[in-house]
Symmetry: C2
Subunit: 359 residues, 2 copies
């Protein structure tokens, strides 16, 4: 971060990442991820608020269905364990038990915590009371801040509650608080989180699980440099988003268009320069056009149908000599003969109609 005189940055990346672990079925050590991170000094909770706002903007724009953002604070989790009497050296392992609550019942977790991880039944039940709590952010927060709340006696928890108060009020003003659920059972597996943590869960298909997640990691960057750099970020699993999109399209009996091509220039012959002259007229007019050279009309029609290209311009020797082209509307299976000089204009006119119809 200190390189090139930078002290802070907001950055995104869409790229392959690599994880040295044993991934579960259908997951890989190499996968695509979309990251957004803010690093460096900013006003208290501002980066956290902006990262969460951007995550909700992204998920809204993807338009893949209902989702919720589960949110918690690492220091509140630690405070909760402290209050329950869990020894500090067991915090991380107990967190990873709590983290399984989205897949297992509390009874299973309780058994693990008591029988395998050596908590007393009282400690486990104390944790059980806390992790039940989930609700609308500002409401649950004010409950936890009320006189008599055990969190008020715990220094780290008080700091976390103050963080969350600023954050929730900012998210309210950023008009995305409705997507957020304050959930005391959210733990997140990774060790490096130091503050707010969150996970976006798609509500349509439970098997997909979380599609975006992140949190504050103030100590991670400093490990690789000379001074600490506070940071907060979110990662979106783009392959899961694609899986949801594909499923949604299947559910609606839609096939996925593999290309954006708007018009197929079907040249009935082998003359590349003549075909190029035609397709280049579309390219110059910024129409997405593909040239295909083939003597058989059906080859052109099949290709347009397979690729779901909406329009086709068919040109053979006769059309060339008569100065016309055949303009086909593939879906409507309609054909007209139009002057070649009006070819681009006519296709553009029709594309505009499609666009208006979809808007």
């Amino acid at each position: 971060m200190a390189m090139n005189g930078l002290t802070s940055m907001k950055r995104y990346q869409i790229a392959k990442v690599y994880r040295r672990d044993n991934p579960s079925k259908g997951r890989y050590r190499e996968f695509y991820q979309c990251d957004f991170d803010i690093a460096g000094p900013y006003a208290r909770m501002q980066p956290d608020s902006e990262v969460i706002k951007i995550m909700t903007e992204l998920l809204d724009k993807l338009n893949i269905g209902e989702y919720e953002v589960k949110l918690n604070h690492r220091k509140l989790l630690d405070g909760m364990l402290e209050i329950c009497g869990v020894p500090p050296e067991k915090f991380r392992t107990i967190c990873s038990s709590v983290d399984k609550l989205d897949k297992q019942s509390f009874d299973q977790i309780r058994k693990e915590m008591v029988e395998e991880k050596g908590l007393t039944p009282e400690m486990a039940d104390g944790i059980g009371e806390f992790v039940k709590k989930r609700g609308r952010p500002l409401e649950l927060l004010s409950e936890l801040q009320q006189k008599g709340s055990k969190f008020l006696e715990n220094e780290g928890s008080v700091q976390a509650l103050n963080d969350l108060e600023i954050l929730f009020k900012a998210l309210d003003k950023a008009k995305c608080i409705d997507k957020v659920v304050f959930d005391l059972s959210l733990a997140r597996g990774l060790d490096y989180y130091t503050g707010v943590i969150y996970e976006a869960v798609f509500k349509g298909l439970t098997q997909v699980g979380s599609i975006a997640a992140g949190g504050r990691y103030d100590d991670l960057i400093g490990m690789f440099g000379s001074k600490p750099v506070p940071a907060v970020g979110v990662s979106l699993g783009i392959e899961r988003v694609f899986a949801i999109m594909e499923q949604n399209q299947k559910d609606q009996n839609q096939t996925i268009r593999a290309t954006e091509t708007q018009v197929l220039v079907g040249f009935l012959g082998e003359d590349l320069p003549l075909g190029t002259e035609l397709v280049n007229e579309f390219w110059e007019a910024n129409v997405k056009a593909e040239l295909m050279l083939n003597k058989r009309v059906m080859k052109h029609i099949d290709h347009a149908k397979d690729s779901r290209i909406p329009y086709m311009v068919l040109v053979g020797e006769r059309e060339l000599s008569e100065g016309v082209v055949k303009l086909k509307d593939i879906e409507a299976a309609k054909e007209e003969v139009i002057p070649r000089t009006q070819m681009v204009e006519e296709v553009k006119k029709r594309l505009l109609t499609i666009r208006e119809a979809t808007l």
Copy 2:
């Protein structure tokens, strides 16, 4: 290629690539590259023509200055060596000598070919006559196709000349032939090329050398599969393009804008929710806005200047209570007080004026 039922594809990629070689100074084994490739069966020379058209479109749109596309054909090179009496096993090593002609004189190359690589002086001088030839594609081509041309007696060369005739006529129709120079000295270092080869050279700064290059590689994909897949592609070295852009901007005394931010919301205080409410009004109106919380006016102004953000909205306690904001035009150093309710609209109006002025 046979995977997923695909028999052909047009694809692009902007990504890191890795090369297992010893790169020269300032180059690395890992770098970013923009690739476009067409693989599979298509009409003769169609993919070659489309890849070159796209390369010129790309370089034109980047608007980084004058360039030319040097172009040759591997089979014409081989034919030339055959005609000069070079033994086939020396074709590749002689090609790599010829490839140095953009950096060394022919006398140096001649010495290398004769003294190190064992050609006779007559062979070397024969090559020297050929590699001098460069010119406008259709003109030089028709010269090489004229009665008496040595190429007409060489089978591979005739095939190459026929390829080039189709290609040049198509590029002429695609209106990019003016960028192409047919250059018999272009050899390209890589072994896998089998047909047309090309290299785009930026004419402004000689030290940058080629910024995009490619060719036909019909035998490469088949090496990894069960059947041959003809293919042709181009790679653009995006880091070199950035180097040229930076130099151009320096030459024009411009600094590079690191962000696209259109307006800085400078909040004179620490209240994140209030600041968020302001910046979110811009976000909702699709204005690229950044929020900064700081009590000191100069911090905001310095940040806007450093990041070359054109407009700033300054809001403190007084402005909040009076329902106004200070709107600053950073470059013009002008300030007006406007009602907060008109804040977004006023900034949008000014941004439109900027845009019109730059168009």
